[in-house]
Symmetry: C2
Subunit: 195 residues, 2 copies
């Protein structure tokens, strides 16, 4: 069975792929709007990890709406959620038997409810898998430490490979300095290989 795992280049989506690789032929799928070249970081990470890689391009109007929402809200949560849902729809349209993401039990965003999961499955004839929803933060930190080599730093210096970095760029394009108002500074991780 084939599984496309939504992949940012960070530790959560990588760990999700590691959980699935014994059971599925995993392809890491990075979704973006074609705004920056940061998806190349994700491709490099996929190569280092030994996984097949695919890039999918999302609908620009979804980015525009998400940016509008995030700037209005003053926080990124609802915009990120909308883009994540769109990305799952796009990957579910592709050839995979299953589509997966790195959503964790203790995440506030993105989240995929059981009803949304079943709707995605029914409409696209795929399975939706979120292998990390059964793991808490402590377990995930231990597993990352055990399995992966990561570099971490502030999100400006360690960009994610997926749409999040592009959304930040689009917000900054509207008004210089505005990204810091919407996205709180946080530590980002980038995976550079397996232990």
């Amino acid at each position: 069975m084939d599984c496309g795992v939504l992949f940012s280049g960070g530790k959560d989506s990588t760990l999700a792929a590691l959980v699935l690789e014994d059971f599925y032929d995993v392809t890491l799928v990075t979704a973006g709007f074609g705004v920056t070249d940061d998806w190349e970081h994700a491709r490099a990470a996929a190569d280092d990890l030994g996984f097949a890689f695919e890039r999918v391009v999302l609908d620009e109007s979804v980015a525009a709406d998400a940016v509008e929402t995030m700037v209005d809200d003053g926080f990124p949560r609802n915009g990120i959620q909308a883009v994540h849902e769109h990305a799952l729809e796009v990957v579910a349209e592709r050839k995979y038997d299953a589509v997966a993401d790195g959503t964790r039990r203790d995440d506030r965003v993105p989240t995929v409810s059981r009803a949304s999961a079943q709707s995605l499955e029914d409409r696209h004839g795929v399975d939706y898998l979120s292998p990390l929803t059964g793991f808490g933060r402590g377990a995930i930190d231990d597993l990352v430490e055990q399995e992966l080599v990561v570099e971490s730093g502030p999100s400006e210096e360690v960009p994610k490979g997926d749409y999040e970095t592009e959304l930040r760029a689009l917000i900054e394009d509207r008004e210089e300095g505005s990204v810091a108002e919407v996205f709180p500074a946080h530590e980002q991780t980038r995976v550079t290989g397996r232990r």
Copy 2:
């Protein structure tokens, strides 16, 4: 890291163990009240699967309360939930770094809420893992088909190795024929090996 996986001998708890075995030293842990010898089915399945096995004995008063609840309710759900929660507490007291179960995304019972999971983790200093909560029914059926050899049949003929069979026996002891009123007839599975 050591992980004790609550194990009934059925397909869900087995699949949970398979998901975890790349990351943890897994022991299959069967919990019961010492009422019947059905735990020996679970031990035999653990041997066939190549996992370490441990049997833990639960508090009899929890069985008595659960039976009372199930008979009063006329359905098993709340009683099963109470016993499952107790079993997790007992396993969390043991030597494992993590305690896991075969709870699935689409299960109605038992369920472990995020708050209960965090409470269990905080009180016992363990991680709680439910690796199948990220998988829907369709994906689990496919994975069982791909990974496991199972026999299935009515629950009277294919007894589970854990507390459920004992709860059925305790209800039947109170009044002959009463178990059919509380437990709806359903198909049970027993794992006999890996593919």
